[in-house]
């Protein structure tokens, strides 16, 4: 239990989770790494039906960042349950379904279908910036956030983990709304809305126009938001944003997160999980700590209320 964590009813062997949309459905990494190394895997975002997603270009690089507008291309929840889940059964890792919808009803319906053996929890994606309905339109509005999370809550017995948007003035408001709506944990954060322009052709570099910014560039913003969310609620928070190393992951844990997700870095180096886990072990040894849980929330913040604190 040195590295094990408990996450709103969900037990993870370690706090490392693969982030939605950056690890496919998990099966793509079979043979490249041992999926049982991971504390958990979040599926690519799933709607009721399969979707084509956006035209290309869908990803462009920005300084230390990645801007994407995939548009939630995916196989749909039924195909996932039918075709993918059985292939993942033999791995000892928590499978989390990333639930999407154009409407509140669709979220609930996907949640109902996903509530099958083999699925460990549901992450509610109310923060995708690359779809014209649902997504960020829900996650940027406290009332809609409450409605979606409540509906998913009613539709499943599985742990419900809303994924918060960073494109808001005060993330702690949304954290509290989710807690009230019955969430078991929070994922924090999704991508930041960005725009990159091809100045020679004077069009956006992404076919869709705007996109979601991820990667090391956003880490300081993500750590700040995860810290604000963790201070605002009692349910556990999963930190996400720009993690590429043990130190990066520890930033989120020290800030108060019970677990973390690795996103963009999966594309850069599939060996990252083994690397971070080894780093955790040597960190615990160096600091003479019994378990990773002792690191969680150990940040000593300077005196006084910071302007970015939840009270701001």
């Amino acid at each position: 239990m040195r590295l094990g964590v408990e996450l709103g009813g969900l037990r993870l062997k370690n706090p490392l989770i693969a982030a939605s949309g950056t690890f496919g459905y998990g099966v793509e990494y079979e043979g490249i790494l041992d999926l049982s190394l991971l504390g958990g895997v979040v599926s690519k975002g799933l709607y009721l039906e399969p979707r084509d997603g956006c035209p290309v270009p869908r990803i462009v690089e920005t300084p230390s960042g990645l801007l994407n507008a995939i548009g939630l291309q995916g196989i749909g929840i039924r195909a996932f349950v039918r075709d993918v889940l059985p292939r993942l059964a033999r791995y000892e890792t928590a499978l989390i379904v990333n639930v999407c919808g154009d409407t509140v009803e669709e979220y609930a319906e996907v949640a109902r279908i996903a509530d099958v053996p083999g699925v460990a929890a549901l992450e509610v994606n109310i923060s995708c910036p690359n779809v014209k309905k649902g997504g960020i339109a829900f996650g940027g509005d406290p009332r809609m956030t409450h409605e979606v999370v409540s509906a998913v809550r009613k539709a499943t017995r599985l742990p419900v983990i809303p994924k918060l948007s960073p494109n808001v003035t005060d993330v702690s408001v949304f954290a509290r709304v989710c807690e009230e709506a019955g969430a078991d944990a929070l994922s924090c954060i999704n991508t930041l809305l960005g725009l990159a322009i091809d100045v020679e052709r004077r069009v956006p570099r992404l076919a869709f126009g705007t996109g979601g910014l991820s990667g090391p560039a956003i880490r300081p913003i993500a750590v700040r938001m995860a810290w604000q969310a963790a201070r605002a609620v009692r349910i556990p928070v999963i930190g996400i944003g720009g993690i590429t190393s043990t130190e990066d992951a520890l930033e989120f844990l020290v800030a108060g997160c019970r677990a973390v997700q690795v996103g963009t870095a999966n594309f850069v180096d599939p060996g990252i999980y083994a690397r971070i886990l080894a780093g955790f072990e040597s960190y615990l040894q160096r600091h003479r700590l019994e378990s990773i849980g002792e690191v969680v929330g150990s940040l000593r913040f300077p005196d006084g209320e910071a302007p970015g604190g939840p009270g701001a």
């Binding site: 793509e28 990494y29 290309v56 270009p57 300084p63 995939i70 180096d269 599939p270």
Partner: protein, 273 residues
């Protein structure tokens, strides 16, 4: 596409640079130690590779495997320096390591026994055909290569087929070397000689691939093209590299990942812009 290649899963490793050979202009040959790529890569497959751990730019880059040496446990890339990713690789010193995942993607499929393989390469698109020429040579198949570029300096691998029994025709847009004009015009001229049944294989810029596809359709010959989209992961998970593909019998095109279902596609199935 044969599924056989997927039987050798890609392996992620830090690979030391074992040899570096600067060519003219922005071209360089780089040889890295990676036993699994050396043993398993087939023509048309590629690696995702990055020279350092700085995060600007963040992603690895795709490069075709040009040659393998299983006994040395090493493979060679033919690299054109165009931006920061290729530049950082070209700056590596012998012994320094890069992060590398491979072999990836679906290889070219050999033509039926009675047919000649006709390679149509533009610029760095020559790379996979070096390996393909060797593979076909070992299998006793006939091949012929057409190699085009803007100018003479873009044709750096004219000697790569020496000793493989693959006749080579070069073409440059400005006529500074070989035929003046598009490489596909030279291919068309070859087809005009009624060389018997052939399969075309294209690798190069999009416009050239499209021209290969049109030529194949007009002449009623099969063609495989290796497409060149942006790639983020090489594993089918970022969904950044998709290409609209309409397979025979399908009503509308669907997005397919160039990294796992390609980069080699049947030219008829590709929906050109």
């Amino acid at each position: 596409m044969p599924a056989s290649s997927t039987h050798r899963p890609p392996v992620n490793r830090d690979v030391p640079l074992v040899r570096r050979q600067a060519l003219e202009g922005p071209y360089v040959l780089l040889t890295f130690r990676h036993p699994e790529v050396a043993a398993g890569a087939r023509a048309g497959q590629f690696v995702m590779i990055k020279a350092n751990t700085v995060s600007d730019p963040i992603l690895r880059r795709p490069f075709s495997v040009m040659r393998v040496d299983p006994s040395e446990g090493a493979f060679t890339l033919f690299l054109k320096i165009v931006g920061p990713g290729s530049h950082a690789l070209a700056e590596l010193r012998t012994g320094e390591e890069a992060g590398c995942l491979g072999p990836l993607g679906q290889p070219f499929t050999a033509p039926p026994e009675d047919q000649e393989a006709v390679f149509v390469a533009g610029g760095y698109g020559i790379a996979p055909f070096v390996l393909f020429g060797e593979e076909l040579g070992r299998a006793g198949r006939r091949a012929r290569a057409f190699y085009g570029g803007r100018t003479a300096a873009d044709l750096q691998l004219c000697d790569a087929f020496d000793g493989l029994g693959v006749p080579l025709v070069c073409a440059t847009d400005d006529g500074s070397f070989g035929h003046r004009g598009r490489v596909t015009e030279a291919v068309a001229a070859h087809l005009d000689t009624r060389p018997g049944p052939v399969t075309l294989y294209g690798c190069g810029p999009d416009a050239m691939l499209h021209a290969v596809a049109r030529l194949a359709e007009r002449r009623g010959v099969p063609a495989q093209v290796s497409v060149d989209p942006w790639m983020g992961c090489g594993l089918g998970t970022c969904l950044g590299c998709v290409v609209p593909i309409r397979r025979p019998g399908e009503a509308r095109p669907k997005y397919h990942c160039a990294c796992t279902e390609g980069p080699v596609f049947d030219a008829r199935d590709v929906v050109w812009p």
